[in-house]
Protein backbone atom coordinates (compact mmCIF):
# COMPACT_ATOMS: atom_id res chain seq x y z
CA UNK A 1 0.00 0.00 0.00
CA UNK A 2 1.18 3.58 -0.54
CA UNK A 3 2.32 4.25 3.04
CA UNK A 4 4.11 1.37 4.74
CA UNK A 5 1.29 -1.15 5.18
CA UNK A 6 0.99 -4.38 3.23
CA UNK A 7 -2.21 -5.99 2.10
CA UNK A 8 -2.93 -9.68 2.27
CA UNK A 9 -5.91 -11.99 2.02
CA UNK A 10 -5.96 -14.33 5.02
CA UNK A 11 -7.25 -17.87 4.96
CA UNK A 12 -7.61 -20.78 7.37
CA UNK A 13 -6.75 -24.24 6.07
CA UNK A 14 -7.86 -27.52 7.64
CA UNK A 15 -5.75 -30.27 6.14
CA UNK A 16 -6.72 -33.91 6.29
CA UNK A 17 -6.09 -36.76 3.90
CA UNK A 18 -5.74 -36.79 0.13
CA UNK A 19 -9.48 -36.37 -0.42
CA UNK A 20 -11.11 -33.49 -2.30
CA UNK A 21 -10.27 -29.87 -1.57
CA UNK A 22 -13.19 -27.48 -0.94
CA UNK A 23 -13.34 -23.78 -0.15
CA UNK A 24 -15.64 -21.16 1.34
CA UNK A 25 -15.35 -17.57 0.16
CA UNK A 26 -16.99 -14.70 2.04
CA UNK A 27 -16.66 -10.99 2.55
CA UNK A 28 -16.10 -10.05 -1.09
CA UNK A 29 -18.42 -7.16 -0.23
CA UNK A 30 -17.34 -5.29 2.87
CA UNK A 31 -20.91 -4.76 4.10
CA UNK A 32 -21.90 -8.46 4.06
CA UNK A 33 -21.18 -10.27 7.29
CA UNK A 34 -23.30 -13.45 7.21
CA UNK A 35 -20.53 -15.41 5.48
CA UNK A 36 -17.99 -14.39 8.11
CA UNK A 37 -20.17 -15.93 10.78
CA UNK A 38 -20.65 -19.09 8.67
CA UNK A 39 -16.85 -19.39 8.43
CA UNK A 40 -16.58 -19.00 12.20
CA UNK A 41 -19.14 -21.77 12.75
CA UNK A 42 -17.42 -24.06 10.24
CA UNK A 43 -14.03 -23.38 11.85
CA UNK A 44 -15.49 -24.23 15.26
CA UNK A 45 -16.96 -27.47 13.90
CA UNK A 46 -13.73 -28.46 12.14
CA UNK A 47 -11.57 -27.62 15.19
CA UNK A 48 -13.82 -29.84 17.28
CA UNK A 49 -13.56 -32.61 14.67
CA UNK A 50 -9.76 -32.38 14.70
CA UNK A 51 -9.78 -32.76 18.49
CA UNK A 52 -12.24 -35.63 18.69
CA UNK A 53 -12.01 -37.48 15.40
CA UNK A 54 -9.01 -36.24 13.40
CA UNK A 55 -9.21 -39.08 10.89
CA UNK A 56 -12.68 -38.01 9.74
CA UNK A 57 -11.36 -35.09 7.65
CA UNK A 58 -10.47 -36.90 4.43
CA UNK A 59 -9.84 -33.82 2.30
CA UNK A 60 -8.82 -30.18 2.71
CA UNK A 61 -11.05 -27.28 3.71
CA UNK A 62 -9.99 -23.71 2.98
CA UNK A 63 -11.88 -20.79 4.53
CA UNK A 64 -11.49 -17.30 3.02
CA UNK A 65 -13.86 -15.42 5.35
CA UNK A 66 -12.81 -11.83 4.58
CA UNK A 67 -11.62 -11.33 1.01
CA UNK A 68 -12.29 -7.58 1.00
CA UNK A 69 -10.28 -6.98 4.16
CA UNK A 70 -10.04 -3.21 3.71
CA UNK A 71 -13.77 -2.90 2.99
CA UNK A 72 -14.73 -4.99 6.02
CA UNK A 73 -12.37 -3.09 8.31
CA UNK A 74 -13.78 0.26 7.16
CA UNK A 75 -17.49 -0.50 6.63
CA UNK A 76 -17.33 -0.13 2.86
CA UNK A 77 -19.05 -2.45 0.37
CA UNK A 78 -16.55 -2.02 -2.45
CA UNK A 79 -12.78 -1.95 -2.37
CA UNK A 80 -11.86 1.37 -0.71
CA UNK A 81 -9.86 3.87 -2.78
CA UNK A 82 -10.68 2.00 -5.98
CA UNK A 83 -14.41 2.40 -5.47
CA UNK A 84 -14.71 -0.96 -7.16
CA UNK A 85 -16.99 -3.91 -6.57
CA UNK A 86 -14.49 -6.74 -6.09
CA UNK A 87 -17.02 -9.21 -7.43
CA UNK A 88 -16.90 -7.40 -10.79
CA UNK A 89 -13.13 -7.74 -11.18
CA UNK A 90 -12.82 -11.44 -12.00
CA UNK A 91 -10.96 -13.32 -13.38
CA UNK A 92 -8.45 -10.48 -12.91
CA UNK A 93 -4.79 -10.35 -13.78
CA UNK A 94 -1.66 -10.71 -11.60
CA UNK A 95 -0.14 -7.57 -13.12
CA UNK A 96 -3.26 -5.36 -13.18
CA UNK A 97 -4.47 -2.81 -10.65
CA UNK A 98 -5.26 -3.90 -7.10
CA UNK A 99 -8.84 -5.19 -7.63
CA UNK A 100 -7.64 -7.22 -10.59
CA UNK A 101 -4.64 -8.56 -8.65
CA UNK A 102 -6.78 -9.60 -5.70
CA UNK A 103 -9.17 -11.36 -8.07
CA UNK A 104 -6.33 -13.16 -9.83
CA UNK A 105 -4.80 -14.23 -6.52
CA UNK A 106 -8.12 -15.64 -5.37
CA UNK A 107 -8.74 -17.38 -8.71
CA UNK A 108 -5.37 -19.04 -8.56
CA UNK A 109 -5.97 -20.15 -4.95
CA UNK A 110 -9.42 -21.57 -5.70
CA UNK A 111 -8.89 -23.18 -9.11
CA UNK A 112 -9.15 -26.92 -9.13
CA UNK A 113 -11.19 -27.16 -5.91
CA UNK A 114 -13.94 -29.77 -5.90
CA UNK A 115 -16.42 -27.12 -4.75
CA UNK A 116 -16.31 -23.44 -3.86
CA UNK A 117 -19.18 -21.75 -2.01
CA UNK A 118 -19.26 -17.96 -2.31
CA UNK A 119 -21.44 -16.54 0.47
CA UNK A 120 -23.21 -13.21 0.08
CA UNK A 121 -25.60 -11.35 2.37
CA UNK A 122 -27.75 -9.37 -0.06
CA UNK A 123 -27.02 -5.71 0.73
CA UNK A 124 -28.03 -3.22 3.40
CA UNK A 125 -31.41 -2.61 1.73
CA UNK A 126 -32.99 -6.04 1.24
CA UNK A 127 -33.42 -9.17 3.36
CA UNK A 128 -33.28 -12.49 1.51
CA UNK A 129 -34.25 -16.05 2.51
CA UNK A 130 -31.39 -18.59 2.35
CA UNK A 131 -30.91 -19.31 -1.32
CA UNK A 132 -28.52 -20.46 -4.01
CA UNK A 133 -28.28 -18.49 -7.26
CA UNK A 134 -27.27 -20.37 -10.36
CA UNK A 135 -26.52 -19.33 -13.92
CA UNK A 136 -28.60 -21.54 -16.25
CA UNK A 137 -25.44 -22.33 -18.25
CA UNK A 138 -24.17 -24.37 -15.29
CA UNK A 139 -27.56 -25.64 -14.12
CA UNK A 140 -26.98 -29.36 -14.87
CA UNK A 141 -23.87 -29.55 -12.70
CA UNK A 142 -24.84 -27.17 -9.90
CA UNK A 143 -28.54 -27.78 -9.19
CA UNK A 144 -27.99 -31.31 -7.79
CA UNK A 145 -25.36 -29.95 -5.39
CA UNK A 146 -27.54 -26.94 -4.50
CA UNK A 147 -30.43 -29.28 -3.69
CA UNK A 148 -28.35 -30.82 -0.90
CA UNK A 149 -27.31 -27.47 0.58
CA UNK A 150 -30.27 -27.19 2.97
CA UNK A 151 -31.37 -23.91 1.39
CA UNK A 152 -34.95 -22.70 0.93
CA UNK A 153 -34.67 -21.47 -2.64
CA UNK A 154 -32.70 -22.08 -5.82
CA UNK A 155 -32.91 -19.12 -8.18
CA UNK A 156 -31.93 -19.88 -11.78
CA UNK A 157 -30.80 -16.86 -13.77
CA UNK A 158 -30.90 -16.61 -17.55
CA UNK A 159 -27.42 -16.45 -19.07
CA UNK A 160 -28.08 -12.98 -20.50
CA UNK A 161 -28.68 -11.46 -17.08
CA UNK A 162 -25.60 -12.96 -15.48
CA UNK A 163 -22.54 -10.87 -14.81
CA UNK A 164 -19.48 -12.44 -16.35
CA UNK A 165 -17.00 -10.73 -14.08
CA UNK A 166 -18.00 -12.46 -10.83
CA UNK A 167 -15.87 -15.02 -9.03
CA UNK A 168 -18.59 -17.64 -9.50
CA UNK A 169 -18.87 -17.16 -13.25
CA UNK A 170 -15.10 -17.13 -13.66
CA UNK A 171 -14.66 -20.31 -11.62
CA UNK A 172 -17.56 -22.16 -13.26
CA UNK A 173 -16.35 -21.15 -16.73
CA UNK A 174 -12.91 -22.53 -15.99
CA UNK A 175 -14.10 -25.88 -14.60
CA UNK A 176 -14.17 -25.24 -10.83
CA UNK A 177 -17.75 -25.64 -9.54
CA UNK A 178 -18.87 -22.61 -7.53
CA UNK A 179 -22.21 -22.03 -5.82
CA UNK A 180 -23.37 -18.55 -4.87
CA UNK A 181 -25.35 -18.33 -1.64
CA UNK A 182 -27.40 -15.21 -0.87
CA UNK A 183 -29.06 -14.87 2.50
CA UNK A 184 -29.94 -12.43 5.23
CA UNK A 185 -29.14 -8.75 5.01
CA UNK A 186 -26.06 -6.53 4.91
CA UNK A 187 -24.30 -5.35 8.10
CA UNK A 188 -26.12 -7.91 10.23
CA UNK A 189 -25.79 -11.58 11.17
CA UNK A 190 -28.78 -13.93 11.02
CA UNK A 191 -27.56 -16.87 13.15
CA UNK A 192 -30.44 -19.19 12.20
CA UNK A 193 -29.76 -18.79 8.50
CA UNK A 194 -26.04 -19.27 9.07
CA UNK A 195 -26.54 -22.49 11.04
CA UNK A 196 -28.90 -23.72 8.32
CA UNK A 197 -26.18 -23.15 5.72
CA UNK A 198 -23.48 -24.72 7.91
CA UNK A 199 -25.58 -27.91 8.09
CA UNK A 200 -26.01 -27.86 4.30
CA UNK A 201 -22.32 -27.30 3.60
CA UNK A 202 -21.23 -30.09 5.97
CA UNK A 203 -23.73 -32.45 4.39
CA UNK A 204 -22.47 -31.60 0.88
CA UNK A 205 -18.83 -32.01 1.99
CA UNK A 206 -19.71 -35.41 3.38
CA UNK A 207 -21.29 -36.34 0.05
CA UNK A 208 -18.16 -35.22 -1.79
CA UNK A 209 -15.92 -37.33 0.45
CA UNK A 210 -14.24 -34.38 2.19
CA UNK A 211 -15.63 -35.77 5.44
CA UNK A 212 -15.81 -39.49 6.10
CA UNK A 213 -19.15 -41.19 5.61
CA UNK A 214 -19.50 -42.16 9.27
CA UNK A 215 -19.06 -38.68 10.73
CA UNK A 216 -22.16 -37.08 12.25
CA UNK A 217 -23.18 -33.80 10.68
CA UNK A 218 -26.15 -31.60 11.64
CA UNK A 219 -29.47 -32.64 10.17
CA UNK A 220 -30.70 -30.98 6.95
CA UNK A 221 -34.43 -30.29 6.93
CA UNK A 222 -34.92 -27.69 4.21
CA UNK A 223 -35.99 -28.32 0.63
CA UNK A 224 -35.51 -25.63 -1.96
CA UNK A 225 -38.22 -23.95 -3.99
CA UNK A 226 -37.27 -23.15 -7.57
CA UNK A 227 -37.36 -19.60 -8.93
CA UNK A 228 -36.55 -18.46 -12.43
CA UNK A 229 -37.47 -15.58 -14.72
CA UNK A 230 -41.00 -16.98 -15.14
CA UNK A 231 -42.24 -16.95 -11.55
CA UNK A 232 -40.50 -14.04 -9.81
CA UNK A 233 -42.35 -10.74 -9.47
CA UNK A 234 -40.58 -7.50 -8.53
CA UNK A 235 -42.32 -4.79 -6.52
CA UNK A 236 -40.68 -1.41 -7.15
CA UNK A 237 -41.80 1.72 -5.31
CA UNK A 238 -44.28 3.90 -7.18
CA UNK A 239 -43.37 6.91 -5.12
CA UNK A 240 -40.57 7.99 -2.82
CA UNK A 241 -41.00 7.90 0.93
CA UNK A 242 -40.72 5.44 3.81
CA UNK A 243 -41.64 1.80 3.19
CA UNK A 244 -43.35 0.14 6.14
CA UNK A 245 -43.90 -3.60 5.75
CA UNK A 246 -47.19 -4.94 7.10
CA UNK A 247 -46.23 -8.59 6.81
CA UNK A 248 -43.17 -10.55 7.81
CA UNK A 249 -40.43 -11.81 5.54
CA UNK A 250 -40.54 -15.42 4.26
CA UNK A 251 -44.27 -15.98 4.42
CA UNK A 252 -46.97 -17.13 2.01
CA UNK A 253 -49.02 -14.27 0.64
CA UNK A 254 -52.24 -14.06 -1.38
CA UNK A 255 -52.78 -12.08 -4.54
CA UNK A 256 -53.85 -8.55 -3.62
CA UNK A 257 -52.69 -8.93 -0.01
CA UNK A 258 -51.23 -5.78 1.55
CA UNK A 259 -47.46 -6.22 1.99
CA UNK A 260 -46.68 -2.71 3.12
CA UNK A 261 -47.29 0.98 2.64
CA UNK A 262 -45.24 3.96 1.57
CA UNK A 263 -45.69 7.01 3.79
CA UNK A 264 -44.10 10.43 4.24
CA UNK A 265 -42.65 11.84 7.46
CA UNK A 266 -44.31 15.17 6.59
CA UNK A 267 -47.85 13.81 6.27
CA UNK A 268 -50.16 11.47 8.12
CA UNK A 269 -51.78 9.76 5.14
CA UNK A 270 -50.55 6.83 3.09
CA UNK A 271 -48.87 7.64 -0.24
CA UNK A 272 -49.22 4.17 -1.75
CA UNK A 273 -50.17 0.62 -0.90
CA UNK A 274 -47.88 -2.26 -1.82
CA UNK A 275 -49.84 -5.39 -2.70
CA UNK A 276 -48.78 -8.84 -3.85
CA UNK A 277 -49.36 -9.35 -7.58
CA UNK A 278 -49.76 -13.14 -7.17
CA UNK A 279 -50.36 -15.96 -4.71
CA UNK A 280 -46.86 -16.93 -3.64
CA UNK A 281 -43.93 -16.61 -1.30
CA UNK A 282 -42.56 -13.29 -0.07
CA UNK A 283 -38.87 -14.14 -0.34
CA UNK A 284 -37.28 -10.67 -0.54
CA UNK A 285 -38.35 -7.84 1.76
CA UNK A 286 -36.93 -4.36 2.09
CA UNK A 287 -35.08 -3.79 5.36
CA UNK A 288 -33.95 -0.18 4.83
CA UNK A 289 -37.10 1.97 5.00
CA UNK A 290 -36.38 4.95 2.74
CA UNK A 291 -37.27 4.42 -0.90
CA UNK A 292 -36.90 6.40 -4.09
CA UNK A 293 -39.32 5.92 -6.94
CA UNK A 294 -38.22 2.61 -8.40
CA UNK A 295 -36.54 1.20 -5.29
CA UNK A 296 -37.16 -2.51 -4.86
CA UNK A 297 -39.38 -3.22 -1.85
CA UNK A 298 -40.15 -6.90 -2.23
CA UNK A 299 -40.03 -9.93 -4.47
CA UNK A 300 -42.77 -12.52 -4.53
CA UNK A 301 -42.57 -15.84 -6.35
CA UNK A 302 -45.33 -18.21 -7.29
CA UNK A 303 -44.59 -21.59 -5.73
CA UNK A 304 -42.56 -24.04 -7.75
CA UNK A 305 -40.60 -27.01 -6.41
CA UNK A 306 -40.13 -27.64 -2.69
CA UNK A 307 -42.43 -29.84 -0.66
CA UNK A 308 -46.08 -29.78 -1.73
Amino acid sequence: MPYRERMEIRRTVFGGGDGPRVAIVAGLHGDELEGLYVCHRLAAWLEELQRCNPGALLGTVELYPAVNTLGLDTLTRGLPVFDTDLNRAFPGSPSGPLPSRLAAALMSALSGAALVVDIHASNIYLREIPQVRINQDFEALLVPIANRMNMDLIWLHGAATVLETTVAHSLNSSGTPCLVVEMGVGMRISPDYCDQLVAGILSVWKGLGVLSADVDVPETLHTALIADDSNVHFLNAQTSGMFLPTTSHWTDVRRGELLGTVVSPFRGDILSDVRSPVDGVLFTLREYPLVYEGSLMARVMSRKGGRS
Binding site: P2, Y3, P97, L98, R101, T165, N236, Y292, S295
Partner: protein, 314 residues
Protein backbone atom coordinates in the same frame (compact mmCIF):
# COMPACT_ATOMS: atom_id res chain seq x y z
CA UNK B 1 -35.34 26.07 -24.33
CA UNK B 2 -35.11 24.16 -21.07
CA UNK B 3 -37.12 20.99 -20.76
CA UNK B 4 -37.33 18.38 -17.98
CA UNK B 5 -36.40 14.94 -19.23
CA UNK B 6 -37.70 13.27 -16.14
CA UNK B 7 -39.30 14.44 -12.92
CA UNK B 8 -39.06 12.22 -9.88
CA UNK B 9 -39.91 12.38 -6.21
CA UNK B 10 -37.38 11.97 -3.39
CA UNK B 11 -37.98 10.47 0.06
CA UNK B 12 -37.83 13.71 2.07
CA UNK B 13 -36.72 16.43 -0.35
CA UNK B 14 -38.72 18.22 -3.01
CA UNK B 15 -39.03 16.33 -6.28
CA UNK B 16 -36.11 16.63 -8.68
CA UNK B 17 -35.68 16.67 -12.42
CA UNK B 18 -33.06 16.14 -15.08
CA UNK B 19 -33.16 19.28 -17.21
CA UNK B 20 -31.90 19.54 -20.77
CA UNK B 21 -31.46 22.29 -23.35
CA UNK B 22 -33.23 21.96 -26.68
CA UNK B 23 -31.82 24.52 -29.07
CA UNK B 24 -32.51 25.16 -32.76
CA UNK B 25 -35.40 24.40 -35.12
CA UNK B 26 -38.16 22.22 -33.75
CA UNK B 27 -38.05 18.73 -35.22
CA UNK B 28 -39.28 15.33 -34.09
CA UNK B 29 -35.81 14.39 -32.88
CA UNK B 30 -32.51 16.22 -32.43
CA UNK B 31 -29.75 16.06 -35.04
CA UNK B 32 -27.14 16.05 -32.30
CA UNK B 33 -27.49 14.78 -28.74
CA UNK B 34 -24.80 15.77 -26.23
CA UNK B 35 -24.64 14.16 -22.81
CA UNK B 36 -22.27 14.64 -19.85
CA UNK B 37 -22.36 14.03 -16.12
CA UNK B 38 -23.53 10.42 -16.18
CA UNK B 39 -20.90 10.36 -13.44
CA UNK B 40 -21.41 13.18 -10.96
CA UNK B 41 -17.71 13.91 -10.45
CA UNK B 42 -16.83 14.41 -14.13
CA UNK B 43 -17.09 18.16 -14.14
CA UNK B 44 -15.13 19.03 -17.31
CA UNK B 45 -17.94 17.65 -19.48
CA UNK B 46 -20.64 19.44 -17.49
CA UNK B 47 -18.79 22.75 -17.83
CA UNK B 48 -18.19 22.25 -21.58
CA UNK B 49 -21.83 21.44 -22.30
CA UNK B 50 -23.25 24.19 -20.10
CA UNK B 51 -20.97 26.69 -21.88
CA UNK B 52 -21.93 25.25 -25.26
CA UNK B 53 -25.63 25.61 -24.42
CA UNK B 54 -25.04 29.24 -23.48
CA UNK B 55 -23.20 29.80 -26.78
CA UNK B 56 -25.87 28.12 -28.93
CA UNK B 57 -28.63 29.99 -27.08
CA UNK B 58 -26.76 33.18 -27.89
CA UNK B 59 -26.57 32.14 -31.54
CA UNK B 60 -30.31 31.58 -31.47
CA UNK B 61 -30.80 34.99 -29.86
CA UNK B 62 -28.92 36.59 -32.79
CA UNK B 63 -25.80 37.63 -30.85
CA UNK B 64 -23.57 36.09 -33.53
CA UNK B 65 -25.10 37.34 -36.81
CA UNK B 66 -22.68 35.30 -38.95
CA UNK B 67 -23.79 32.01 -37.34
CA UNK B 68 -27.04 30.12 -37.82
CA UNK B 69 -28.18 26.96 -36.06
CA UNK B 70 -30.00 24.99 -38.78
CA UNK B 71 -30.68 21.75 -36.94
CA UNK B 72 -31.81 20.90 -33.46
CA UNK B 73 -29.27 20.20 -30.70
CA UNK B 74 -30.14 18.47 -27.42
CA UNK B 75 -27.79 19.10 -24.50
CA UNK B 76 -27.89 17.32 -21.13
CA UNK B 77 -25.00 18.84 -19.14
CA UNK B 78 -25.52 16.44 -16.22
CA UNK B 79 -27.55 13.26 -15.91
CA UNK B 80 -26.53 12.43 -12.34
CA UNK B 81 -27.84 15.71 -10.90
CA UNK B 82 -27.74 14.67 -7.25
CA UNK B 83 -24.28 13.14 -7.79
CA UNK B 84 -23.01 16.49 -9.10
CA UNK B 85 -24.37 18.33 -6.08
CA UNK B 86 -22.95 15.78 -3.66
CA UNK B 87 -19.69 15.29 -5.61
CA UNK B 88 -20.13 11.59 -6.13
CA UNK B 89 -19.52 9.59 -9.28
CA UNK B 90 -22.43 7.22 -8.65
CA UNK B 91 -26.09 7.75 -7.81
CA UNK B 92 -25.77 8.83 -4.16
CA UNK B 93 -28.68 6.87 -2.70
CA UNK B 94 -27.74 3.33 -3.68
CA UNK B 95 -24.22 3.96 -5.07
CA UNK B 96 -25.06 2.51 -8.48
CA UNK B 97 -23.31 3.65 -11.65
CA UNK B 98 -25.91 5.19 -13.98
CA UNK B 99 -23.71 4.25 -16.94
CA UNK B 100 -24.23 0.58 -16.02
CA UNK B 101 -28.04 0.85 -16.00
CA UNK B 102 -28.79 1.09 -19.73
CA UNK B 103 -31.04 0.52 -21.60
CA UNK B 104 -33.10 1.03 -18.43
CA UNK B 105 -36.85 0.76 -18.02
CA UNK B 106 -39.81 2.76 -16.76
CA UNK B 107 -40.81 0.26 -14.08
CA UNK B 108 -37.59 -0.82 -12.35
CA UNK B 109 -34.89 0.80 -10.18
CA UNK B 110 -34.53 4.59 -9.98
CA UNK B 111 -31.27 4.68 -11.94
CA UNK B 112 -32.77 2.43 -14.63
CA UNK B 113 -35.65 4.92 -14.98
CA UNK B 114 -33.11 7.72 -15.35
CA UNK B 115 -31.18 5.71 -17.96
CA UNK B 116 -34.37 5.00 -19.90
CA UNK B 117 -35.35 8.68 -20.02
CA UNK B 118 -31.89 9.70 -21.25
CA UNK B 119 -31.81 6.96 -23.88
CA UNK B 120 -35.30 7.85 -25.15
CA UNK B 121 -34.32 11.51 -25.54
CA UNK B 122 -31.04 10.82 -27.36
CA UNK B 123 -31.22 7.56 -29.29
CA UNK B 124 -32.79 8.94 -32.48
CA UNK B 125 -30.19 11.67 -32.96
CA UNK B 126 -27.95 11.40 -36.02
CA UNK B 127 -24.88 12.18 -33.90
CA UNK B 128 -24.67 11.20 -30.23
CA UNK B 129 -21.81 12.31 -28.01
CA UNK B 130 -21.17 11.29 -24.40
CA UNK B 131 -18.48 13.30 -22.58
CA UNK B 132 -16.47 11.70 -19.78
CA UNK B 133 -13.24 12.28 -17.92
CA UNK B 134 -10.80 9.78 -16.48
CA UNK B 135 -11.11 9.11 -12.73
CA UNK B 136 -10.04 11.63 -10.09
CA UNK B 137 -6.68 9.83 -10.01
CA UNK B 138 -5.74 10.16 -13.67
CA UNK B 139 -5.64 12.78 -16.41
CA UNK B 140 -6.38 12.02 -20.07
CA UNK B 141 -5.58 14.14 -23.10
CA UNK B 142 -8.85 15.37 -24.69
CA UNK B 143 -9.69 12.59 -27.10
CA UNK B 144 -12.42 10.90 -29.13
CA UNK B 145 -13.08 7.32 -28.06
CA UNK B 146 -14.57 4.96 -30.61
CA UNK B 147 -15.99 1.60 -29.58
CA UNK B 148 -16.23 -0.98 -32.37
CA UNK B 149 -16.80 1.88 -34.84
CA UNK B 150 -18.22 1.90 -38.36
CA UNK B 151 -16.13 3.43 -41.16
CA UNK B 152 -18.47 6.41 -41.10
CA UNK B 153 -17.76 6.94 -37.38
CA UNK B 154 -13.99 6.69 -38.00
CA UNK B 155 -14.28 9.42 -40.63
CA UNK B 156 -16.59 11.62 -38.55
CA UNK B 157 -14.32 11.33 -35.48
CA UNK B 158 -11.69 13.40 -37.34
CA UNK B 159 -14.15 16.28 -37.59
CA UNK B 160 -13.72 17.08 -33.89
CA UNK B 161 -10.12 18.02 -34.57
CA UNK B 162 -9.07 16.77 -31.14
CA UNK B 163 -5.43 15.65 -30.88
CA UNK B 164 -6.17 11.93 -30.47
CA UNK B 165 -8.73 9.38 -31.58
CA UNK B 166 -8.58 6.12 -29.64
CA UNK B 167 -10.28 3.05 -30.99
CA UNK B 168 -11.42 0.22 -28.73
CA UNK B 169 -13.48 -2.91 -29.26
CA UNK B 170 -16.97 -3.02 -27.80
CA UNK B 171 -16.35 -5.23 -24.77
CA UNK B 172 -19.17 -7.48 -23.50
CA UNK B 173 -18.40 -6.08 -20.04
CA UNK B 174 -19.90 -2.78 -21.17
CA UNK B 175 -23.26 -4.00 -22.49
CA UNK B 176 -25.08 -1.88 -19.91
CA UNK B 177 -23.49 1.44 -20.91
CA UNK B 178 -25.25 4.22 -22.78
CA UNK B 179 -22.77 3.87 -25.67
CA UNK B 180 -23.72 0.22 -26.08
CA UNK B 181 -27.43 1.06 -26.11
CA UNK B 182 -26.89 3.89 -28.59
CA UNK B 183 -25.18 1.55 -31.03
CA UNK B 184 -28.41 -0.40 -31.51
CA UNK B 185 -29.83 2.69 -33.27
CA UNK B 186 -29.03 4.22 -36.66
CA UNK B 187 -26.69 7.19 -36.40
CA UNK B 188 -23.18 7.68 -35.08
CA UNK B 189 -21.97 7.52 -31.47
CA UNK B 190 -18.87 9.00 -29.84
CA UNK B 191 -17.36 9.22 -26.39
CA UNK B 192 -15.11 12.17 -25.63
CA UNK B 193 -12.71 11.69 -22.73
CA UNK B 194 -11.40 14.93 -21.35
CA UNK B 195 -8.93 15.33 -18.52
CA UNK B 196 -9.49 14.31 -14.95
CA UNK B 197 -12.56 14.01 -12.70
CA UNK B 198 -13.27 16.33 -9.79
CA UNK B 199 -12.13 19.59 -11.38
CA UNK B 200 -12.51 21.92 -14.34
CA UNK B 201 -9.35 22.00 -16.44
CA UNK B 202 -9.84 25.18 -18.35
CA UNK B 203 -7.38 24.48 -21.17
CA UNK B 204 -8.88 21.09 -21.91
CA UNK B 205 -12.40 22.51 -21.68
CA UNK B 206 -11.64 25.39 -24.03
CA UNK B 207 -10.07 23.03 -26.52
CA UNK B 208 -13.07 20.71 -26.48
CA UNK B 209 -15.50 23.63 -26.62
CA UNK B 210 -13.77 24.84 -29.82
CA UNK B 211 -13.77 21.24 -31.10
CA UNK B 212 -17.52 20.96 -30.52
CA UNK B 213 -18.25 24.23 -32.33
CA UNK B 214 -16.01 23.20 -35.21
CA UNK B 215 -17.68 19.77 -35.30
CA UNK B 216 -21.16 21.31 -35.41
CA UNK B 217 -19.92 23.42 -38.32
CA UNK B 218 -18.45 20.50 -40.24
CA UNK B 219 -21.57 18.31 -39.94
CA UNK B 220 -23.75 21.17 -41.16
CA UNK B 221 -25.64 21.86 -37.94
CA UNK B 222 -24.13 25.28 -37.29
CA UNK B 223 -23.67 27.38 -40.43
CA UNK B 224 -21.03 30.09 -40.73
CA UNK B 225 -18.32 28.50 -38.56
CA UNK B 226 -14.79 29.46 -39.58
CA UNK B 227 -12.91 26.16 -39.55
CA UNK B 228 -9.28 26.54 -38.51
CA UNK B 229 -6.59 24.62 -40.38
CA UNK B 230 -4.69 23.62 -37.20
CA UNK B 231 -7.65 21.47 -36.19
CA UNK B 232 -6.78 19.00 -38.93
CA UNK B 233 -3.70 17.60 -37.13
CA UNK B 234 -5.27 14.48 -35.64
CA UNK B 235 -3.60 11.21 -34.61
CA UNK B 236 -5.48 7.95 -34.83
CA UNK B 237 -4.52 5.30 -32.27
CA UNK B 238 -5.67 1.70 -32.09
CA UNK B 239 -5.41 -0.39 -28.94
CA UNK B 240 -1.97 -1.93 -29.69
CA UNK B 241 -0.48 1.57 -30.03
CA UNK B 242 -1.07 2.19 -26.31
CA UNK B 243 1.91 1.42 -24.07
CA UNK B 244 1.23 1.61 -20.35
CA UNK B 245 3.46 1.74 -17.31
CA UNK B 246 2.06 0.23 -14.12
CA UNK B 247 3.49 0.77 -10.65
CA UNK B 248 5.72 -2.11 -9.71
CA UNK B 249 6.06 -0.68 -6.24
CA UNK B 250 3.67 1.17 -3.98
CA UNK B 251 4.64 4.65 -2.83
CA UNK B 252 4.19 8.26 -3.86
CA UNK B 253 4.27 9.23 -7.54
CA UNK B 254 5.19 12.79 -8.42
CA UNK B 255 5.50 14.29 -11.89
CA UNK B 256 5.58 17.75 -13.44
CA UNK B 257 4.74 16.57 -16.97
CA UNK B 258 1.58 17.56 -18.79
CA UNK B 259 -0.48 15.37 -21.09
CA UNK B 260 -0.36 15.98 -24.82
CA UNK B 261 3.44 16.20 -25.05
CA UNK B 262 5.48 13.96 -27.34
CA UNK B 263 8.09 12.01 -25.38
CA UNK B 264 11.17 9.96 -26.31
CA UNK B 265 11.61 6.31 -25.37
CA UNK B 266 13.32 6.21 -21.97
CA UNK B 267 12.53 9.86 -21.19
CA UNK B 268 11.87 10.37 -17.51
CA UNK B 269 8.25 11.27 -16.72
CA UNK B 270 8.22 11.10 -12.92
CA UNK B 271 9.48 9.46 -9.74
CA UNK B 272 8.09 7.06 -7.17
CA UNK B 273 9.19 7.90 -3.64
CA UNK B 274 9.00 5.80 -0.50
CA UNK B 275 6.25 7.70 1.30
CA UNK B 276 7.77 7.03 4.73
CA UNK B 277 11.49 7.16 4.00
CA UNK B 278 11.35 9.82 1.31
CA UNK B 279 13.93 8.18 -0.95
CA UNK B 280 13.36 7.62 -4.67
CA UNK B 281 12.48 3.99 -5.24
CA UNK B 282 11.82 4.13 -8.95
CA UNK B 283 12.36 6.47 -11.86
CA UNK B 284 9.39 6.21 -14.24
CA UNK B 285 10.31 6.50 -17.92
CA UNK B 286 8.35 6.51 -21.16
CA UNK B 287 8.23 2.93 -22.46
CA UNK B 288 8.27 4.04 -26.12
CA UNK B 289 8.48 7.24 -28.12
CA UNK B 290 5.04 8.71 -28.58
CA UNK B 291 2.25 10.94 -27.28
CA UNK B 292 1.92 11.17 -23.50
CA UNK B 293 -1.85 10.64 -23.59
CA UNK B 294 -2.51 9.96 -19.92
CA UNK B 295 -0.75 10.39 -16.57
CA UNK B 296 -1.50 9.61 -12.96
CA UNK B 297 -2.37 12.66 -10.87
CA UNK B 298 -3.13 11.16 -7.46
CA UNK B 299 0.24 10.72 -5.80
CA UNK B 300 -0.56 7.73 -3.58
CA UNK B 301 0.19 4.55 -5.48
CA UNK B 302 -0.81 0.98 -4.90
CA UNK B 303 1.17 -1.74 -6.63
CA UNK B 304 -0.30 -2.23 -10.09
CA UNK B 305 -1.75 1.28 -10.51
CA UNK B 306 -1.54 2.76 -13.99
CA UNK B 307 1.04 5.56 -14.02
CA UNK B 308 1.36 6.70 -17.63
CA UNK B 309 0.10 5.79 -21.07
CA UNK B 310 2.13 6.64 -24.16
CA UNK B 311 0.63 6.14 -27.63
CA UNK B 312 3.04 5.25 -30.40
CA UNK B 313 2.37 6.95 -33.71
CA UNK B 314 1.43 4.47 -36.44
Amino acid sequence: MKRDLLCMTAPVREGFDIPCHEIGPTTSHPAVALVAGLHGDEINGIFILARLADFLNSVEAGKYPELRLVKRVLIIPAVNVLGVNLRTRTWPFDKTDINRMFPGSTTSETTQRIAYAVLEATKRAEYRIDIHTASIDFEEIPQVRLYGPSDAERATARKFGLPAIMERSLSPVFTTTMMHSWKAWPGESFVLRVGQAGTVQLQHCQRVFRAMVSFLGKIGVLEGVDIAVEDEDVCYFDKPSAHRVFAEKAGMFVSDRSVGRWVRAGEEVGYIYDSFGGNVIEKVVAPVAGLLSGIRRHPLLFEGDLIVRVNKKA
